[in-house]
């Protein structure tokens, strides 16, 4: 076995999932309400695209708050990136989005989640449907796809309120049209001048237009707010997709 592969096997089995100190190396603004936090985590055991981490913040008086965030970076990336979009009335996300500075530290535990993950060796084609910041774990999958120079067909449908709410816009534009990757947007609340794309909620017709039918046996990943995921999953099954092929990850008020 190759050295690197052996090392990966050993570390993935042996590295305990414990709280580790993460140091903020860089902060990248993504949208008005979201930014990417690039972390250096000594001892980080590596992750699979789609996994998440638990973040624990400790106040000076000892009060602790804990939340889960999807990993945005590809497994191949040397750093760990989280993209956080502020939730109104949230306790943790406003701090992470508005207060956190380069050099600050907090604790992370992970990677966790063995269900909503994809590796190129799992095959495809890939059908990815994102609602708002549900794009984050799906972006990790596309970044992994790119890092592995895979040509597995991948279709991404992004539903956002407006074009300014779309995370990773430029990177998505650069990925689209190459190596089997196609990206479609629907802007449900506000459309820029001259917008020719969809402007309604995800429906059967939109999912059909993406072009992967049940006979292609796509691996399907849907991530977004609970109501969005419920609706999309129902539409996919309506289209004839096998419910077992639909991987769902919901987030909601109880997740932040």
């Amino acid at each position: 076995m190759e050295r690197a592969a052996l090392l990966e096997r050993l570390t993935s089995r042996r590295a305990p999932i414990v709280w580790r100190t993460a140091t903020v190396r860089e902060i990248v603004p993504e949208t008005v309400q979201g930014r990417t936090i690039v972390l250096v985590v000594p001892g980080w055991p590596g992750h699979r695209a789609g996994q998440h981490v638990d973040v624990r913040l400790t106040a000076e008086d000892g009060y602790q708050a804990q939340r889960s965030y999807s990993i945005a970076s590809a497994p191949e990336s040397p750093e760990l990136s989280l993209t956080v979009v502020v939730f109104e009335d949230g306790e943790v996300s406003p701090y992470l989005v508005e207060e956190l500075q380069v050099g600050d530290e907090f604790e992370v535990r992970g990677p966790v989640g063995g269900y909503f993950t994809w590796r190129v060796q799992d095959g495809g084609p890939l059908l990815l449907v994102a609602g708002g910041s549900g794009l984050v774990p799906l972006m990790a999958m596309l970044r992994h796809h790119a890092a592995q120079k895979s040509d597995i067909p991948a279709r991404l449908l992004v539903s956002a309120r407006s074009i300014d709410d779309v995370l990773y816009r430029e990177e998505l534009a650069s990925l689209a049209g190459h190596d089997g990757v196609e990206v479609t947007f629907t802007l449900t609340r506000e459309q820029p001048e001259g917008w020719t794309g969809a402007s309604r909620r995800v429906d059967v017709e939109m999912l059909r237009a993406i072009g992967l039918s049940p006979t292609d046996h796509p691996k399907i990943f849907v991530c977004g707010p609970t109501a969005f995921v419920e609706s999309v999953a129902d539409r996919l099954v309506e289209l004839g997709h096998d419910p077992a092929s639909v991987h769902a990850e919901r987030f909601g008020p109880t997740g932040e």
Binding site: D54, R109, G113, P225, A248, R250, G252, T254
Partner: protein, 90 residues
Amino acid sequence: MSEDAIWLDGNAIAGLLVEVFGTELTGARRACQSCGTRALVGAHRVYRGVGTVVRCPACGDVAMRITTLPDRHLVLLAGTWEVEFPVPQA
């Protein structure tokens, strides 16, 4: 708030499950004792309140309840759980 806004997937408590069981459990398969549906723990429904309640995604019957006290976790399991653990290789 509608009912569907308050639940998440088993994925969401992957970290808590590691803390309680010492291993990744979202890939474990569970058969419901009420309706017989077999589903991965990561695909179950999770309700969080004072404690954490995991329910069958098909019929909603309780699969697991975790209550965290200051010094310990109290765990109730229901149904049939099939869990795979990798054997450490020499």
